[in-house]
């Protein structure tokens, strides 16, 4: 069995096969695969006995359910008002410079994707970003370079 199909089957066993179990299943696939491929969406539709268009409709509504192949680490920089006022652009430039990618792109080795996102709820510690589910706040260009270096190091040593 294809590993993605197996993952979907396991998630359906765990959460149930009703319509109201769809979001947790979509989230489970994204957690593992980092995105929802067309294949995954069709498999989920089959497993839950739903029209594939319904699964697609739900999946594409939510900004954290990516449907384009993403890197192992997804960096999401908050671009809403306070973070923007407190130097979000400098953070973005520092990351773009370091990883040699622009917003919306993934590094060629498939390790990092860079995105902007709306309010993360850390306005009192702006600017803020998420790397996968981990939050980093009160960023400065120096601080963000250190954080990324630690990820790059982890990556090189193969612990991650």
């Amino acid at each position: 069995m294809n590993p993605v199909s197996e993952l979907i089957k396991n998630l359906a066993d765990q959460h149930g096969r009703n319509r109201h179990n769809l979001l947790p299943i979509l989230q489970g696939v994204v957690e593992q695969e980092k995105y929802l491929s067309e294949f995954s969406m069709i498999e989920i539709a089959r497993e839950l006995d739903l029209p594939a268009s319904e699964v697609y409709g739900t999946a594409t509504f939510y900004s954290f359910l990516e449907h384009k192949k993403m890197g192992k680490y997804i960096i999401r920089i908050c671009k809403t008002i306070t973070c923007s006022m407190k130097g979000k652009n400098q953070i973005l430039l520092a990351i773009e410079d370091m990883l040699k990618i622009n917003v919306g792109e993934t590094t060629p080795d498939g390790n990092f994707s860079l995105l902007q996102t709306n309010c993360l709820g850390f306005c009192h510690k702006a600017p803020a970003m998420l790397i996968n589910n981990d939050v980093y706040t009160e960023l400065t260009p120096e601080k963000v370079r250190e954080i990324l270096s630690s990820y790059l190091k982890k990556q090189k040593e193969g612990i991650a």
Partner: protein
């Protein structure tokens, strides 16, 4: 006209929660009617921003006839400038869980959900631990109530109650028509009480100390205390519990950096108040007899004179354009046109009178958009354009 209410600090929400078992036991021992009366006389209003009377909400759900009912804690805290709910869930989770179980007792629900926004995924392990401990206690005391976390996936609109139900049901987070209201037709079409995290935490205070203690705080129509999320150009950003009803001038005196040009009250969907109106503006629910009262879910963003109000509005509109669910035309197209419109005026491609056209558009959105998102874009748009017109033009 000057508002004379002083800024008063309060300390209820984050006070220790070690006595939650007592509060739960004591409350479950009372009749639903007693508890509803307690809430109604406290005059607690929803702390998410809309300000619906909490006691009435519980009463309507209690009266709805159904074998299955639900209690939902709305932790989809997405309004720009708000971050208090996360703090409540991480510092005093048992207050929220207790309040949910008491609500279950009042309305006759056996299941509760916490809808947690995807951005707060990292809260999950600790919160699940608290839920396990809470459920263990419920089991021991034969209280039939279960709580689960439901994760969101990054959609601001899902904080709108009916969009939240749709999302939980596995659909796109598109708001429903109202009526029917959630108290009768909520999650899975069943009567549902959906309260903001902070609202639930306040009910804990009320059940613990009685309605009077809460009612004695604040001012007429705006009783009790409230958490304020303070950010922007301030030397002390953070979360503060204050009594409702204070004047904005006092607030700025306390939290400003000496050069405050304007304050955004209630996040991007709220109002921008310019310096000249600080003294006549009070923070609380509408209904006061004099002056202006502005409600807020707690978001208070300060801007000093180094900030361009054009950039601020541009940022808000970008936010709304992305977060509009796209279901109804006034909001979907309106948000796009407002954003394009202010940019065109700024670039000089449209003349200044075009701003008046855009103001009419926001009026249309206010009247015709399906939910609070599209209706409230007018708030920040008109308060910024009317007060800082020159900054929009040049």
């Amino acid at each position: 006209m000057t508002v004379n209410y002083q800024l008063k600090r309060a300390d209820f929400i984050f006070k220790n929660e070690n006595d939650w078992e007592d509060v739960l036991g004591k409350s479950i021992g009372r009749t639903p009617q007693e508890l509803i009366n307690e809430l109604i006389s406290s005059e607690l209003k929803g702390r998410g921003g809309a300000g619906f009377p909490t006691g009435l909400k519980w009463k309507l759900s209690a009266e709805a006839e159904s074998d299955v009912k639900y209690v939902i804690c709305n932790a989809d805290e997405g309004e720009p400038g708000t971050f208090k709910d996360r703090e409540i869930l991480s510092r005093v989770p048992f207050k929220v869980l207790t309040a949910m179980a008491v609500c279950g007792h009042v309305i006759g629900a056996k299941e509760g959900y916490i809808y947690l926004r995807g951005e707060y995924f990292f809260l999950q392990p600790e919160l699940n631990k608290a839920i396990d401990e809470f459920e263990y206690y419920c089991k021991e005391t034969n209280l039939d109530f279960k709580i689960k976390i439901f994760m969101g996936s990054g959609a601001y609109i899902c904080g709108e109650e009916t969009a939240l139900f749709e999302s939980m049901e596995g659909k796109r987070g598109e708001p429903r028509n109202k009526p029917p209201f959630p108290t009768n037709y909520g999650y899975m079409g069943k009567p549902t009480v959906i309260n903001n995290v902070e609202t639930l935490a306040h009910t804990f205070t009320i059940f613990k100390y009685g309605a009077k203690r809460f009612y004695d705080l604040g001012v007429q129509y705006s009783r009790g205390s409230k958490l304020f999320s303070v950010s922007g150009d301030t030397p002390k950003p953070g979360i503060y519990e204050l009594e409702l009803g204070m004047s904005l001038a006092d607030f700025v005196e306390e939290f400003g950096d000496g050069d405050t040009k304007a304050v955004q009250v209630g996040g991007a969907s709220g109002f921008l108040v310019p310096r000249k109106r600080f003294a006549e503006t009070a923070i609380g629910f509408q209904g006061k007899l004099t002056g202006i009262s502005l409600p807020t879910g707690g978001s208070m963003m300060l801007f000093n004179s180094s900030r361009s109000m054009f950039n601020v509005l541009d940022n808000y509109l970008e936010f709304f354009r992305e977060e509009s669910c796209g279901q109804c035309t006034p909001c979907r197209v309106g948000c796009q046109q407002l954003l394009m419109g202010i940019k065109a005026v700024k670039r000089g491609e449209k003349n200044a009178r075009y701003l008046d056209k855009l103001l009419t558009l926001t009026e249309t959105m206010k009247l015709t958009a399906k939910c609070g998102l599209g209706q409230s874009v007018a708030n920040s748009f008109s308060s910024i354009v009317e007060n800082f017109r020159e900054e929009m033009i040049y």
